[in-house]
């Protein structure tokens, strides 16, 4: 059975002005994948994510999400794509002047016509899904960093997205919380069929959750390797990928 393509990146050049980070990248993310974007520090992973989420325009090339080229499509269509994608930012990016429940209700207020009471129910449900049951009326400043990330995830899930993007989900989390977040990602993927794109360097996560990946390389400014991370470890295409996946062991 051939899988449906959800994100199709064609001849994409990533960079800022004259400063190119990545040349002519081509890759596809299939529906239902857990897709890992990995690579050394400063190779442009976060920039790639900013392009996928439409925060940064590509220098060249196309990003086609669910059949819509987000750089050239009319604003209305891009908006529809955005409604169907959730993003978990590195710090959670919760709005500090609102309670957790209000944070989650914000996208609902914008894009749905549920009654306020239903929205509250939904917010409580999403919080419970990420293990924050009963924290509805807490402000972001009153919870820990790991909890903020989970609350951020609850907000990302508010509109039942088809794609969820994660920027370094495990950064700043203790091993257990990080593991729990991984389990949560897998659970989401399995039970809701959500496509998931993760930027991370956490090797344990990469192997635990990823079933497809690209490896960005700063020196050659290309995608140096691609495929299931576990397969890449078995048959590393070159030294750099091998060292990355084994924490710097020399072959």
């Amino acid at each position: 059975m051939k899988k449906e393509v959800q994100i199709d990146v064609k001849d994409l050049t990533v960079g800022y002005g004259d400063y190119v980070l990545l040349h002519d990248a081509n890759y596809q993310v299939n529906k239902g994948d857990i897709f890992i974007i990995m690579g050394g520090s400063g190779c442009g992973k976060s920039s790639m994510l900013r392009i996928l989420t439409g925060l940064l325009p590509p220098l060249k090339g196309q990003v086609i999400i669910s059949g819509v080229d987000i750089a050239s499509a009319p604003a209305k269509e891009v908006q529809k794509i955005r409604e169907k994608s959730g993003i978990l930012y590195q710090s959670g990016a919760l709005f500090s002047s609102m309670t957790l429940a209000e944070n989650i209700m914000l996208p609902l207020q914008q894009y749905s016509d549920y009654s306020p009471a239903t929205m509250r129910e939904l917010a409580a449900l999403k919080l419970a899904l990420v293990g924050l049951k009963g924290f509805d009326d807490f402000y972001p400043s009153e919870i820990s960093g790991g909890m903020k990330k989970r609350a951020g995830l609850a907000r990302a899930l508010a509109l039942d997205p088809q794609i969820v993007y994660f920027d370094e989900p495990s950064a700043g989390l203790d091993p257990i919380s990080s593991r729990n977040l991984d389990d949560l990602i897998i659970e989401l993927n399995r039970s809701l069929g959500t496509t998931i794109v993760v930027v991370t360097h956490e090797l344990a996560s990469i192997f635990a959750i990823g079933n497809n990946s690209i490896f960005l390389d700063a020196a050659t400014k290309t995608i140096m390797a691609r495929g299931d991370p576990k397969e890449l470890l078995k048959n590393p295409p070159n030294q750099a990928v091998y060292e990355f996946l084994t924490r710097g062991e020399k072959k």
Binding site: D18, Y19, I87, S96, P107, Q109, Q110, R155, A219
Partner: protein, 376 residues
């Protein structure tokens, strides 16, 4: 404070084709820059080798390491062989570590422009800045249109919070400052007017001065420092925390959501604060008049009310209205264009206050000229 010992413990010995750098005892806090230059001066074309000799014991700090690092780099530039083997192992390792070639920084090449180039680059910079500001003003007007056609996504609660902050919470400071300004105005005026025995006109002076312009200016400066800077800091911090990215990817218009409530609140509050300032200034004047100049109380108020002129008063209020617009626009714009680190929040805050004050003065000038022309 650094004390630079002149008699450095490091000796440089030139011996035919080789240069030897040696020391004994401790090398702490040495003047590495000078020593590196001294070593470099020995490197003529005939030199083929650079060697080091050092005692295995003895203390040293980074300044010694910096000498070694500098000398080795200098030698490499002159194609001179370097022999580190006579150094203690840990020093050798550190030098190798420092010299190991990592990825070179790629994009930080400082572009050197000529005179014309500098002018050109400056022009482009100004042009983009003007473009951005005009774009922002345009967005705000569109957002205002959406608001007045009831299609805005502004949250009422945000507006109320902003209004609370720039209204009731600002009353105290505005009242105090304008009372004092009225006091000062009366005092300075009184000294002059007394020489003509016309001190009763202090009442007119304070009333006209406060109502026409001083009230509005004082409120403007207070609110730029108090509220405009807070707008810039709050929105700038949201940028650092990626909250602005989150808004954007949620498809919520940033201007509706963040700028509009603050703008509306301040534009509404400023004229009211200006009225308060006018009134408090007059009370300050009366204080000086009655207690220091011994003017009769009723007399003072008679002159004050005589001098009160609705046109002047309205011009003052109009100033307040414009200042509210300027302060909130400057604050929000600086916040939205803030960089992504803590430092840039500070920069944004400073810029918001400076810009607001400058533009308030400019607007005051323009309004004054227009009033002159239409005879108000």
């Amino acid at each position: 404070m650094h004390n630079k010992p002149n008699n450095s413990p490091i000796k440089i010995i030139k011996n035919g084709a080789s240069v030897q750098v040696t020391w004994d005892g401790d090398v702490l806090n040495c003047d590495s820059d000078t020593i590196i230059k001294q070593i470099a001066a020995q490197m003529s074309n005939t030199v083929k080798q650079l060697g080091f000799a050092a005692p295995a014991h003895g203390q040293w700090d980074s300044s010694l390491l910096s000498v070694l690092f500098g000398a080795v780099q200098e030698a490499q530039r002159h194609n001179i062989a370097v022999d580190l083997t006579a150094l203690p192992q840990n020093l050798q390792d550190l030098v190798h570590l420092a010299l190991a070639v990592d990825r070179k920084p790629q994009h930080k090449e400082n572009m050197q422009f000529g005179f014309l180039g500098t002018i050109g680059a400056g022009t482009v910079k100004i042009w983009t800045a003007v473009n951005n500001v005009l774009g922002f003003i345009g967005e705000v007007f569109i957002s205002l249109l959406r608001f007045f056609s009831f299609r805005s996504v502004m949250r009422g609660i945000d507006f109320l919070a902003a209004l609370d902050d720039c209204g009731p919470k600002a009353l105290g400071i505005v009242a105090l400052i304008s009372f004092l300004v009225g006091l000062i105005l009366a005092f300075v005026g009184a000294v002059q007017l007394q020489t003509f025995g016309a001190q009763i006109y202090v009442a007119s002076l304070v009333t006209i001065g406060m109502c026409r312009i001083m009230g509005a200016i004082m409120v403007g400066i207070i609110m730029a420092g108090r509220t405009g800077s807070a707008y810039a800091a709050t929105i700038g911090t949201m940028q650092v925390n990626e909250e602005l990215d989150a808004l954007e990817t949620m498809g919520l218009p940033k201007v509706d959501f963040l700028v509009l409530p603050r703008l509306l609140a301040l534009v509404l509050a400023m004229p009211i604060l200006t009225m308060l300032a006018d009134f408090m200034g007059m009370i300050g004047g009366a204080f000086v008049g009655v207690f220091l100049l011994d003017l009769p109380y009723q007399e003072y108020w008679k002159y004050a009310i005589n001098a009160f002129n609705l046109k002047n008063f309205m011009v003052g209020i109009f100033h307040g209205f414009c200042f509210g617009f300027i302060i909130s626009m400057c604050g929000c714009y600086c916040g939205l264009t803030c960089g992504r680190n803590a430092d840039s929040v500070g920069v944004a805050t400073t810029r918001s206050v400076v810009n607001a004050v400058v533009w308030m003065i400019v607007i005051t000038g323009i309004i004054t000229v227009i009033c002159q022309e239409i005879g108000v």
